[in-house]
Every structure is written in C-alpha cells, then in structure tokens.
C-alpha cells in the first residue's frame, strides 16, 4: 500500500470566498495577527501494491478529475505505507 497526499488549491488570481469568510471569523474571534486565509482541498489516496507508475497515474487523476486547470493547481507527495501512520 502506498499513500499519496494530494493538495489542490485555487490559483492565486482566483477569489476564495470560503477563505475570506474564515478569515473574517478568525478576526471576529479576536486574532488580529492574521492576514490572509486560503482554503483548499486535501486528499489521501491509497494505492494497492500492484500499482506501477504512481506518478503518471496520479498526474492523470489530478489533471482529469481532482483539479480543474482553469482555476486550480495541485501538488502531491508519495508517502509509503509506514510513513502513513
């Protein structure tokens, strides 16, 4: 088993209303030393042991499904099974 962690975030030019709402809420809680909150998505994907070329596969999955290249970018880390714990 191999664990892959994928992070998808909006491109910088894209408005992130959730991030903004959260920032307002944080300020509302009295934390005024915060300046900028962005919200993205985080995935943990498990590959079985017969997976061969995880890099290529994960790129395809991200390009086609997990991220929309019009507005998002992604990055990922491959963690092996031990590292996952």
């Amino acid at each position: 088993m191999t664990l892959v962690k994928v992070y998808v975030t909006y491109k910088e030019s894209i408005l992130d209303p959730q991030g903004e709402a959260i920032e307002t809420a944080i300020h509302g809680m009295g934390h005024n030393d915060i300046n900028g909150v962005r919200m993205g998505k985080y995935f943990e994907i498990n590959f079985t042991d017969d997976a061969k070329d995880i890099d290529t596969e994960i790129d395809t999955i991200c390009d086609k499904l997990l991220a929309n290249p019009n507005m998002e970018t992604y990055r990922y880390e491959i963690v092996n099974a031990e590292g996952a714990k």
């Binding site: 909006y10 030019s13 894209i14 408005l15 992130d16 209303p17 959730q18 903004e20 709402a21 998505k41 086609k64 499904l65 997990l66 929309n68 019009n70 507005m71």
Partner: protein, 225 residues
C-alpha cells in the same frame, strides 16, 4: 424534433426540463441515462441542473467522466444544439465545450431567487424568439455560479458575441455579470439561471418559454431549408 435530457446520478432538475419540453413546446423528449454511449437518434441535448454526484469534489467534475460524455461532444461537433442549465453549464465547462469555470458564489452562500437578465444576443438558436436587450425574469438556484474566466478568454467572448445573458445586478460575483455564454460555433449554450422553472405565470414567470420555442423554431427552419 427529438430532445434528449441527460440524467446523471444526482441530477434533480431533469424532470422539470422534461416537462418544459413536453408540456411547454410539445416536442418529443426522452430521458437518457448517463451510461448510454450514443445520442445519434436525437436532434438536441439538454443537460439539466441539479447536483450530479452530489456536487462532490467540484460541481460537474465527476459527471465529466461519465460514459455519455463522448456522445455529447460528438453531437456538439455535429452542430446540433446542446443546452446546459446550472449544473449542466458547470458540466459543459468541465468537459471543455465551453470556456471558463463556475466557482463558488462571491457571498459564499447558495442563492435562490428570481433575477432579472438581459438577453444580450438574440441571434442564436436559443434566443431568436427574444428581442435584443430584452429584460427577462428567470430564477437562479446555485452555490457555485460565479462565472470565472481569464482576461483573454473574456475578450474573445466579447469580441465574438458569445455572452448571451447577463445579470442586471451582480448576484454572485460573475465576471462581467455573465449569466450565460455560447460557444463560438453557436450551438452550445450554458447558463446558470433556470428557464425551465419559468414557463407559467402561476409559478412566477413564463419568460423561459421563449428559449425552448427558439430551439424548436430554429430546428424547424433548418430542417425546412
């Protein structure tokens, strides 16, 4: 004229669209399952609103992988009318038949209300029954309806008259108040507002009817040529 209404798991405006065609313009219409792979028997494809796959991940993203998608693309390339409403619009951008993307509303909330739209272009097969710059009332209901595209795309859309509907007021942060756009060939239209919910005065407005009449009429004109 035969219409196909595509049903994805989680589509929920499919029946409304079905009634709009059947009772609104009395045309032939069938519901087509997302697992089909041919649309050859149809003259037009309608992609309904709703929450295909629960809108999970990103609205329209999972539907974009469905078996029916290549058939929709094929029909679009043949120049037949393809209309995507709300989630249908989101799917059309996800599969690249229309440029840009629909992101979360500026106010970070789902909105449902009747809004005023301007018909910017009545020279399309979807809008020929409207007059130019006609103001119409159509309901919206979406959480991710904020149309986004980069500056270059926007210039192209403007230059080619591809912006078909604009909101009179900024309701969700959309670039240039865009409510609906068409592809450069003029046969694929995506819009966030729901014309299929505006067919009778009793439910608030019948301003959506002309849209379906336009599609039917344009088709008849083509067939009669």
């Amino acid at each position: 004229m035969r219409f196909a209404v595509i049903v994805f798991p989680g589509s929920n405006c499919d029946k409304d669209l079905f009634y709009a065609i059947k009772d609104g313009i009395h045309a032939e219409v069938e519901m087509v399952d997302y697992r089909e792979n041919s649309l050859d028997e149809y003259d037009a494809v309608m992609i309904p609103g709703g929450f295909s796959y629960g809108d999970y991940l990103r609205s329209g993203a999972i539907a974009a992988q469905a078996p029916i998608i290549p058939a929709i693309k094929k029909l679009a390339h043949e120049g037949k009318p393809v209309l995507g409403i709300c989630n249908g619009f989101q799917i059309l951008t996800e599969i690249g038949l229309l440029p840009g993307a629909l992101i979360r509303n500026r106010q970070n909330k789902f909105i449902c209300e009747s809004v005023e739209l301007i018909v910017e272009d009545n020279q399309t097969i979807f809008t020929s029954e409207y007059s130019k710059k006609e103001s119409i009332n159509i309901p919206v209901a979406h959480g991710e309806g904020n149309y986004y595209c980069d500056d270059a795309t926007l210039s192209t859309l403007k230059a080619n008259d591809q912006i078909v509907f604009r909101y009179v007021n900024d309701i969700n942060g959309s670039v240039d108040n865009i409510a609906g756009i068409i592809n450069s060939k003029g046969n694929v239209l995506g819009m966030m507002p729901h014309p299929e919910r505006a067919l009778e005065k009793i439910v608030g407005s019948d301003d959506g009817l002309k849209m379906f009449q336009s599609i039917l009429k344009s088709h008849m004109n083509r067939v009669n040529l």
